[in-house]
């Protein structure tokens, strides 16, 4: 009887991985659809005004209409986040690489990295405007200040996690400093670096958008949100938020994908 049902038949023939993927994708998808439906329903039932909370369908259609502009603005914000992350990464990873063998120095820097991580860095945004101007420069600087301590801390811990026996092995080969770093400490640091990177990309995007609230061009997601919110164009604000979400998620997934591929030898990625 079951074999008479074509859908059951095909699903039975599918190899296991498929059903595993399905079980990962389908539940969150159902929750998403339910949430959107509930949102529409609430607006319908309570007659909520458009400028307070627009309908998802309305946001969706405007998102499609404005897609070209949103992508352009998103690209600008992404550019700021990316360049800030690059700068912050260069500072954080560079400092970690140069100090990880000098305990007192790494510890000295580490304290300030911890302080910077505790401080809401975004409160520095008005200051960076004073230092680096109202346009991209100040926003890049804020992103760098926010991401450098994260990447410093993670990379430092990773570089130090190298097996002491393996260090002695390299020493027995009379390996130089660069060799030791490249062939031993770097691979050990990679899992930690990627964990830090997953946090840093998200932070970079958030900090980029918020620093755009503080002024400058409107040709980016933060500037657009600021401008449209001032005019109570709630639907427009929502389309920018959706774009920011999509960009943030795809960035995270790109990093996670690289992580999975590069570290396929690592115990956390090998599977059973």
């Amino acid at each position: 009887m079951t074999t008479a049902d074509p859908t059951l038949e095909t699903s039975a023939e599918q190899p296991r991985p498929w059903s595993r993927h399905a079980s990962v994708v389908i539940p969150p998808l159902l929750v998403f659809i339910a949430a959107i439906a509930l949102w529409e329903l609430i607006i319908e039932v309570f007659e909520i005004q458009r400028f307070l909370l627009p309908r998802p369908s309305e946001i969706a259609s405007m998102f499609v209409d404005d897609f070209g502009r949103l992508i352009r603005q998103g690209r600008n914000t992404l550019g700021v986040a990316g360049r800030g992350l690059l700068l912050g990464g260069a500072i954080g990873i560079g400092l970690a690489a140069f100090t990880f063998r000098t305990r007192w120095l790494a510890e000295g820097i580490g304290i300030y990295a911890a302080v910077l991580k505790a401080v809401p860095v975004i409160s520095l945004a008005p200051l960076t405007v004073v230092w680096f101007g109202i346009e991209a420069g100040s926003k890049i600087a804020t992103v760098a200040i926010a991401t450098a301590p994260i990447l410093f801390t993670y990379t430092l811990v990773g570089l130090r996690s190298a097996d002491p026996n393996a260090r002695e092995l390299m020493r027995s080969y009379a390996a130089g400093h660069f060799r030791m770093f490249w062939s031993l400490h770097l691979p050990y640091a990679l899992p930690f670096f990627f964990s830090g990177m997953k946090i840093a990309v998200t932070i970079a995007m958030i900090v980029a958008i918020i620093s755009e609230y503080f002024g400058g061009s409107f040709e980016n997601l933060g500037g657009y949100i600021r401008n449209e919110a001032n005019n109570v164009h709630t639907v427009e604000v929502w389309t920018a938020i959706v774009m920011a979400c999509l960009l943030g998620i795809s960035q995270y997934m790109i990093v996670a994908g690289i992580d999975r591929y590069v570290l396929r030898w690592h115990p956390s990625k090998r599977g059973s």
Partner: protein
Amino acid sequence: MTTTDNASETVAIGTQIAISFEGVRKEFGSGVNATLAIESVDLDIAEREFVSLIGPSGCGKSTLLRLAADLIEPSGGSVVVNGKSPRQARLDRDYGFIFQAPTLFDWRTVWKNVALPLEIMKISGMSKEKKDEEIERLLDMVALNGFESHHPYQLSGGMQQRVSLARALVFRPSILLMDEPFGALDEITRDRMNLELHRIWAETNTTILFVTHSIPEAVLLSGRVVVMTARPGRVQEIIPIDLPYPRTTEVEESTRYYELVTQVRESLSKAMVGGL
């Protein structure tokens, strides 16, 4: 009896001294917290000799090995390796060091793990073909052909240690320093590894200084067994092992073998009393 006839042919101990310890002392820490690990150790190891260091935990057997490897420096006395300072011997890549843990790099394949020393050392005049040949020869020697593209975590503990052995031999060092290399393996694997190591030693003219906890292992493999006392470590007794070569399972069943095992055991228990 045929094994006895072969003995003198398979093993030719050199007359040169490969490693020499003279009045060696090593202290860890300083002031009130200082611990004396080893004291006045005198020991000469000839070229192509196989010498085991055995003793209670904390007797400084590994310390002695690490001194020869220039991984640590002596507090007193002198260590000479191939007629040079241990540091010079290390820079000249005179020895290969094998740890109790295989210490392989998980991100590298078996092949690339064995290739690591050659990559680092950039041995002059060695072409890529020659290197590949050498790696293949070593993998053959430790019976790991067919596993070149596996990663270490896909291998058993015994196979991992064989990779580590191949890696230590690939640049043809004249000395092997082995720090309880088979200590973490099960009995059966360990027995097989012992016989393999013995065969490799006989084939390669390598001097081996071997730290172990196992009396049967020390007796089976060595030309001499050095029994050490507990902290501070000193040489209690050096027992020559006059078993025929090559050492095989037959040798392991001989009466002389059991006598020697007993002799080492008795010496060791005296060493432990002395230390306590």
